[in-house]
Symmetry: C2
Subunit: 505 residues, 2 copies
Amino acid sequence: MSDQREVSPKTAYAALSDRFRRASLIGDALGILDWDQATTMPEGSADGRAEQIATLSVMRHELLVDPSVGENLQAVQGVSADSWEAANLREMQRGYAYAAAVPSDLVEAAARANTVCEIQWRQARAEGDFASLVPALQTVLGIVGEVAAARADAFSLDPYDALLDEFEAGTRVAQLEPLFGTLVRDLPGFVEDVLEHQKLRPEPVFPDGPFPVATQRALATELMEALGFDFEAGRLDISHHPFCGGAAGDVRITTRYNEENFTESLMGVLHETGHALYEAGLPEPWRYQPVGKALGMAIHESQSLLVEMQVSRSRPFLEFALPLMQAVFGGQGPAWNVENFYRLYTHVERGFIRVDADEVTYPLHVVLRYRLERALLSGDLPLADLPGAWNDGMHDLLGITPPDDSLGCLQDVHWPSGAFGYFPTYTLGAMAAAQLYGAAQRDLPNLNEDISAGRMLSLIDWLRIHVHGQGSFRTAEDLLTAATGQPLNPQIFLNHLRNRYLGDG
Amino acid sequence: MSDQREVSPKTAYAALSDRFRRASLIGDALGILDWDQATTMPEGSADGRAEQIATLSVMRHELLVDPSVGENLQAVQGVSADSWEAANLREMQRGYAYAAAVPSDLVEAAARANTVCEIQWRQARAEGDFASLVPALQTVLGIVGEVAAARADAFSLDPYDALLDEFEAGTRVAQLEPLFGTLVRDLPGFVEDVLEHQKLRPEPVFPDGPFPVATQRALATELMEALGFDFEAGRLDISHHPFCGGAAGDVRITTRYNEENFTESLMGVLHETGHALYEAGLPEPWRYQPVGKALGMAIHESQSLLVEMQVSRSRPFLEFALPLMQAVFGGQGPAWNVENFYRLYTHVERGFIRVDADEVTYPLHVVLRYRLERALLSGDLPLADLPGAWNDGMHDLLGITPPDDSLGCLQDVHWPSGAFGYFPTYTLGAMAAAQLYGAAQRDLPNLNEDISAGRMLSLIDWLRIHVHGQGSFRTAEDLLTAATGQPLNPQIFLNHLRNRYLGDG
């Protein structure tokens, strides 16, 4: 026995559990404050809200970097833990390592630089003026580089891997390179084929509006409920940028409505519902512990894309949903049949804007950003040369050249807000969605019939068991392997695209 | 010089200032969470919200009881402070003393007992079943007694004074006894006289509805704006129990609407607007410091009652507001004239329910509760005997006897939620409102003309200077003396009642 005062593993675990529970509840409070800011807060109250959010964020950070966390994580070694406790400790270790890896003043500098740059970005994008953004974005890039270096040092990773890891634990360039290599090799030609194939079909017809907001909302609510969204523990509201937020047990999604065209908002709602079902289905006994949280952004995006791309844009879903749409809107005319809606919802087009892209061209938008952000961070691409490199990349990958930077390298908020290493999760999520949905179809032989009859709950139960209810018990890779029989396999996604866009899927 | 490590007064003040700022911002976050809970939150999310609120409340309490607070308050003695800094230190000292006086486990036990009792009270009130509430209320009463004893000990006060002091600093039984003695002596006979006098006037006529909620809301918004409420830094929403809440720079009031009768909701909105204008007018440079906060509940209530009772139920205000009401509702018929609305809004009636009482009978409801809560706390009145004592008191003071306890001792949430010592602030506030409004009329000779022309801002400016902008710089007594030339004088309130209800005021 050593001379040191020993803390029993049990005491150490209880102390950690209390501390992370408290951090989790601060996170929930922050979730409500963020939601309120985006939906409800008076405009003039932004400064005060920023102070509230900064205060709670700092207090949460202080909880996690407290020296007792490291000591207790040491003391708890060898605790006889059931496997969920062991997984919880793994996630605590990760949370502590992340909080401790970067000095507090760098965290604060990053927050400030990102806020400044994001505000300037709004104007720069509106005016298509990249040059005006360069100084602020250079500062952000410099700080992101420092953060990456600090984490790389702490975790023995390459710096870009250290950034990827924040958004989805375990993601590495070594994994992305072959995945994205496959996409770059196969997708551009595939897009050509799809566009040729699409020409053989009739052009999709948009249904005639107007579509009153209250009716759109009632329809959205009905479909959300059919998917198992619980309005006793969640909400649907309006915000400028749709999101899924709120708190544990209080999951809130938002959308925006266009009275001339309901189809986009509806898919937006279904997308956010996919995120919300994940949050709502997390393992309740572990609600306030790290292991009870969702995995990273790739798995989260897999849940929204599974509901939106795999389910809601499919013929079986439209067979169920179209009569409901037609009933609430009193829709009449050539637009109102499943085949037309299917063509609307699977229309492929080369465009400049990522968030408007279809699922076929979307991965090429991601690969472009992945390549450029790596080059920016390594110093291979000077920031001033970004617009040219962007336009060249768009031309190489998608065969189109943006007429200005607002439709080019200024379109996304991610880099101005300091999020480097985030973009790949969109495409990892799309691949995971296809793979998980394939496994669900394998396990649920009547799934298509169920969906076309509006019986969604067999699918949702499958997701609860294999994804939602797992929380962070397994890593993303282990979860995918357990649910589907193999690690992430891009061919499943490509098969899905081939089937849907060149076959009759 | 002592051997102890010395902290400079400046450093100590800065540390205190940072800590209280943080506590203030946690309070703002709690304000938004409370508002959301009352207006927006899905019903099923109550447990999670309770956990969030408990966590933030505990963290705020921990900030204030940290030993460094006491040390810094010592070290800061003799700091060369301007007078606002000195007042800020006085309020810090008060906040620390309050937080430190009661052991944490007693604070927690109180919170738990109050929550349990409040839930049981809802059912007991609905069923008129006082006996079912006795065990839970006995527990609450016991804990309140312990809290009062702990504070009495720390502050060298009598226990009930220690409770009064929480809600309005400096309030003492020695001050209340003569004030309330005057009321008990004069008011019952005065009520008789008023009811006789009222018989000589025509009965007031209610305007015919329905009054759509959206129209009521538009009218409320217009009148709030006329009073200087800033919708860029505040909101008006719906909740079951009207309140004023939110955060610094984000002041949110609520109401509930009755489509058959708009007059009550409208006065409710104007009442809450009085609270809101106080919050919005607090001294901005001190926003997050104790000296920048509102004084206690008596002064707060003086601001709501000044706007509601002194201003909004007056003829000049109705001369301004009635044409607006008539325009939005298209009102026609015998109800729609100033004299009738004035009679409606100054109608006196002996009733069982405090929150429905007019300003003449209201103080008698308060005196009853003040007497009973003192007797309960001293042990002179066993809890089981409360219903009888209540009914006897109502008969003595108001000449009526409640037919059941729902209309008697079960009507208010205050005692079940642990708030003993709160009721007197309602009547102190009514008195202060009359006194402040008298001073405003003295200083602003054209006030009645301004109000009848809808020019409210001279009054609001006067309140900003003499009350709102003072924050907690002065004590309530000093503020009242500075603004009106004398400490609280119940005769001013009684003169107001005489003038309005027996004269032609």
